[in-house]
């Protein structure tokens, strides 16, 4: 059953649409940096670094590095803005709506009479999570491959932190300056995880609301509202409260683009979202009336 659900989630037009959409923005982000920094000529930038990735002449070149040009390090382009803002929708498009549609068209009744509902829900949850995660992971891989083909890596230099915007004390900041590839890998994994979580959130909403558009877009609209709320709260109480990022589309970025990223806050939000999604699916899903 799991194999069947995963196949249905990935071999679909909806998955392809979401993948093309997110890959388009990831590719445009890569092109923006390739165009502006290396002029499509990697040798031009490679002349300035040694074999270890350290700048030979000026630390200024550490700014023009793979670590600032990949999608998670991009802080300037239009494409990155759209990519991160649309993550909740991109993750939901492939398969998060499927439970709602299957309940509506009667497919669920046929499944319930042939197999245990728990097995069906487990298979559906795996498929929804994996399709959402894949839609985020694949564009990242394409972006990193494109950027690394044209823009060499330089070890980040802490002296230019006002350009890197990886503030001391933010999540994984020490890794950025010592093991930048690991830092990049961890953020790609965090983004992939959140692709799955956003898909699960939409899936969980389908147990409460019987409207396709609410299922697809509610996490997106709520994320926008959270973005506004954190701006309003932290700008108002900046002197009394340490502003930690609570909007997932902003803490998924590897730089502190607005507020600090704190690992405990991010862990708490992640656990809360996963608990809400899985709790809804396995508690409400078992009792949900399908006949």
């Amino acid at each position: 059953m799991i194999r069947n659900e995963i196949k249905r989630s990935i071999c679909s037009k909806a998955f392809l649409f979401a993948l093309v959409m997110m890959t388009l923005f990831a590719t445009l982000s890569a092109l923006y940096y390739i165009e502006s920094w290396s002029g499509y000529n990697p040798e031009e930038l490679n002349r300035y670094v040694d074999a270890e990735g350290n700048s030979k002449y000026s630390p200024d070149f550490a700014i023009m590095s793979l670590f600032s040009a990949w999608l998670g390090g991009d802080m300037l382009s239009l494409a990155y803005t759209v990519f991160f803002t649309l993550i909740p929708i991109g993750a939901a498009i492939p398969f998060a709506w499927s439970y709602h549609v299957e309940r509506k068209c009667g497919y669920l009744k046929n499944v319930a009479t042939r197999t245990e509902r728990k097995k069906y829900l487990f298979a559906k949850t795996c498929a929804v999570f994996l399709s959402g995660a894949a839609v985020i992971l694949i564009p990242y891989i394409i972006n990193i491959l494109m950027v690394s083909a044209y823009i060499p890596y330089h070890m980040p230099w802490a002296g230019y932190n006002f350009f890197n915007i990886v503030y001391f004390g933010t999540m994984w900041a020490d890794l950025f300056f010592t093991h930048p590839f690991l830092h990049m890998f961890l953020f790609v994994m965090l983004n992939t995880l959140y692709g799955g979580i956003y898909a699960l959130l939409s899936y969980a909403i389908s147990f409460y609301i019987k409207n396709l558009f609410a299922i697809l877009f509610m996490p997106f609209v709520v994320t926008l509202a959270v973005g506004y709320a954190e701006n309003a709260l932290f700008n108002r109480f900046r002197s009394t409260v340490t502003p930690y990022e609570i909007d997932p589309t902003k803490f998924l970025h590897s730089r502190s683009i607005q507020f600090f990223q704190n690992s405990k806050v991010i862990l708490f939000i992640t656990v809360a979202l996963v608990a809400f999604s899985l709790g809804t699916v396995f508690i409400k899903g078992r009792k949900n009336e399908i006949y």
Binding site: L76, V82, T85, L86, N211, F220, L224, N231
Partner: protein, 275 residues
């Protein structure tokens, strides 16, 4: 006559029965009003209605990509437009999946049905704005704030609009704050309605959201959202957007969308639709 009947049906089902969405807009306006009031009080100033409109519809100053200065998404401006577009996304599609098929079949007036839906879209969006303004005026009267569209220099304390050409007191921004945001939502709403019969409504909403996000990041006359940001108009900054060009562009887009939709809908297969 058929058009009037269709429109009456749409207003009854698409406006009166959707009262929850108006409560949602009223709640949103109230929260933003209280937020604006709280911010102003932290600077020991009051605020005028104009300044509130600036807070909600002003948008964000022109972004120039500079290393070390990441783009900050204007959530409030996006929420205002995307909430209204979200509330008006479902009605036409739901009607076409149900009762709409019968009315089209029995009346034989596809274009009339389409024009009625376009009229409903425009009226519904206007009603959301009017509801928001009405709630705002009530709150301002209750809080004894200044009922005026004048904008004072205080706005610089809590909104980062950069350097303006002339002081805000000398600029009349009523068109940019009242008409252009409404016109933008109407034109994008009509585009979304037309796209929802060419592609699917969900994809149409994604395109609307993408246009709004792109408009907030990049200042370009082709991204119409720029006209709906008072912070980017040519009365405020040197290379700003012209309000008249914005009005003409958005009305043209609306007319093209309605016409394109009418042409498409005449040969649209209404029976084999699915969500």
């Amino acid at each position: 006559m058929k058009y009037i009947k269709f429109l009456r049906f749409d207003l009854r089902n698409g406006l009166l029965k959707k009262y929850m969405s108006y409560i949602g807009i009223a709640l949103f306006t109230t929260i933003v009003f209280l937020d604006c009031q709280s911010v102003c009080r932290s600077f020991d100033t009051g605020f005028t209605l104009g300044e509130y409109f600036m807070y909600l519809y002003g948008g964000i100053k022109k972004y120039v990509p500079t290393p070390g200065e990441p783009f900050k998404v204007p959530y409030l401006w996006l929420l205002n437009h995307l909430l209204i577009l979200y509330f008006t996304l479902n009605y036409t599609s739901a009607d076409l999946n149900g009762f709409g098929q019968q009315t089209i079949y029995r009346s034989g007036g596809r274009v009339t049905w389409w024009l009625s839906k376009c009229s409903w879209q425009v009226i519904a969006i206007c009603m959301y704005y009017f509801a928001s303004w009405a709630v705002l005026v009530l709150l301002a009267v209750a809080s004894r704030e200044t009922i005026s569209l004048e904008i004072t220099q205080n706005v610089h304390l809590y909104l980062d609009f950069g350097k303006t050409l002339i002081p805000f007191e000398q600029i009349d921004l009523s068109t940019e704050l009242l008409l252009l945001p409404l016109l933008f939502t109407v034109s994008i709403g009509l585009m979304q309605l037309t796209l929802s019969i060419i592609i699917k409504p969900a994809f149409a909403y994604i395109i609307s959201a993408t246009i709004c996000i792109m408009s907030s990041h990049t200042q370009s006359p082709l991204l119409f959202g720029n006209y709906a940001m008072a912070a980017r108009c040519n009365k405020v900054i040197t290379d700003g957007m012209n309000a008249t060009v914005g009005e003409v562009s958005m009305i043209t887009l609306s007319v093209i969308c309605v016409a394109l939709g009418a042409v498409r809908f005449r040969r649209y297969d209404i029976l084999s639709r699915e969500e």
